[in-house]
């Protein structure tokens, strides 16, 4: 007799295959290595298949799978425990991007594509990988995978307030990096307002180029 109260292997399989793209996206950002990311996704799905009784029908399968992926990554692919960021805590300066003017922000966008200008978009992969892991994950789970704060909090094992702070800081750091890049590329001019402490808006071109060369 087949139990009817559990997700059948077939139903799980088709659901899981539909989530391959988000899982691989998150795994690639975690491992920063395509082969490891594929292994991580496979391990995750096998674990999830064995544990599918624990999945609550009606909840977000993607969020559940990403939670397992995250735990698998922490347990198997990363030695030691979670490297919690030293920058934890509420943001003392919610207006930290106040130094970027409306004109500059507008110049960084591509109004046609409703995305960043292509030259800046090309820089995002690097900028994302340079974020502290907790920030990077919060940004990927929210902006790319469209999970709710609550789902992200469950995945990351932290309060919702911490998710909000990680998201805000991660996005702020990204914008800062992209602004630096836009300055170096001559896309935007210098800001007249004073820059915030901790982010250096004035770019030394030589240092910037050395960094670019190191990436390529």
């Amino acid at each position: 007799m087949i139990r009817t109260d559990r997700l059948t292997a077939k139903a799980f399989e088709s659901g899981a295959l539909g989530e391959l793209s988000p899982l691989l996206g998150v795994a690639t950002r975690l491992t920063r290595n395509p082969a490891d990311a594929q292994d991580l996704v496979q391990d995750t799905l096998l674990k999830a298949m064995r544990a599918r009784d624990q999945f609550e029908a009606g909840t977000n399968l993607r969020a559940w799978l990403i939670r397992i992926l995250m735990n698998t990554f922490i347990n198997r692919y990363r030695r030691g425990g979670l490297e919690r960021s030293v920058l934890e805590g509420p943001d003392a300066d919610p207006l930290a991007d106040g130094w970027i003017s409306a004109t500059t922000m507008e110049a960084m966008r591509d109004p046609e594509a409703q995305a960043l200008r292509p030259m800046l978009a090309a820089e995002i992969g690097h900028a994302l990988d340079e974020l502290p892991e907790d920030y990077r994950m919060a940004v990927v789970l929210s902006d790319v995978e469209e999970l709710s704060y609550k789902e992200i909090a469950e995945i990351m094992g932290c309060p919702i307030g911490t998710v909000m702070s990680r998201l805000h800081r991660g996005r702020k750091l990204l914008k800062g990096r992209l602004y630096e890049h836009a300055r170096a590329m001559g896309i935007v001019g210098p800001e007249t307002e004073v820059g915030p402490v901790g982010v250096q808006p004035v770019v030394e071109l030589d240092r910037y180029r050395a960094k670019k060369a190191a990436h390529s």
């Binding site: 690639t28 292994d39 966008r109 960043l116 998201l167």
Partner: protein, 279 residues
């Protein structure tokens, strides 16, 4: 920047993330209609989100090979589960092995197969196929023996509907399409999945006059049958032929990695002709 920005800026991201209550949304939108800078903040955030999505997905594409690897891994896990869980015995019987092998040995076959599938198919499968190709002829002989034995057993097929063939693909690991032998007057009678030397193949049964044909469809990189057969060329395509225990076997490997082998009581030339027509 108006002084009220201090109040609204921390709400812009939650607004974009869909995490504000309806009344808060109204307040923030009121502010946005009056504040160019906050509007621009919101737009830049949205542009960042769109670009992030594009970059993350572009840098982690789900290839057909990866999807196939996951399918195989899940199918193997599902088979393992059926074996471990007696509640699934009914389901198990509906699977491949009815009457072909005792359940216990069939399960052992699946476990070996599952262990294989757990490896990284992309890289490791290639090295495995090299390994199999250089394997001792004994294992290749066993493979041929399995093909012949299954042909001779002639058990009732698992499915007789051609539309259900695609359901076997996760088990077999390659697309299962029906070779058309109508020009030879052969009629398709049904299909089963059979274990063959640690692997699984689809076994298609045909009847042609008074003869029975069994056509196996399998992942060619894991079935090095050609190593034990003689190559010949039929209509410019290589086919591999031989006979064991009075049953003639002809095999071919297509460029997409799908292997076909025919086991019949016809002679070698006729078998070679049949398998060559699969191209």
């Amino acid at each position: 920047m108006s002084s009220s920005c201090h109040h609204f800026v921390p709400r812009l991201e939650p607004l974009r993330d869909g995490e504000l209550s309806p009344s808060e949304v109204v307040d923030v939108e009121q502010h946005l209609s009056e504040c160019e800078r906050c509007t621009e903040r919101l737009r830049l955030g949205e542009a960042l989100r769109v670009s992030l999505k594009q970059v993350v997905h572009a840098e982690a594409p789900v290839t057909a090979g990866f999807e196939e690897r996951i399918r195989l891994a899940l199918a193997a896990e599902s088979a393992r589960e059926s074996r471990m869980n007696p509640e699934h015995e009914a389901q198990l019987r509906m699977l491949s092995w009815r009457g072909i092998l005792p359940i216990a040995s069939a399960a052992a076959v699946v476990m070996v197969w599952a262990a294989t599938a757990n490896n990284r198919v992309g890289d490791v499968a290639t090295s495995q196929s090299h390994m199999y190709q250089s394997a001792a002829p004994a294992s290749v002989e066993r493979l041929l023996e399995d093909l012949v034995k299954n042909h001779e057993r002639s058990t009732a097929p698992q499915f007789t509907e051609a539309s259900l063939l695609s359901q076997l693909e996760p088990e077999v690991g390659v697309p299962v399409r029906l070779p058309n032998f109508k020009q030879y007057g052969a009629r398709w009678e049904g299909v089963s999945v059979v274990p063959v030397n640690n692997q699984r193949a689809a076994s298609l049964s045909y009847r042609m006059g008074g003869h029975r044909l069994t056509v196996y469809v399998y992942n060619a990189s894991r079935f090095p049958v050609r190593g034990a057969l003689k190559q010949r060329v039929v209509r410019d395509e290589p086919v591999y032929v031989g006979s064991r225990y009075g049953v003639s076997i002809a095999a071919t490997e297509r460029r997409d990695g799908v292997g076909y082998a025919v086991a019949t009581d016809l002679n070698a030339d006729e078998s070679a002709e049949l398998v060559a027509s699969i191209y």
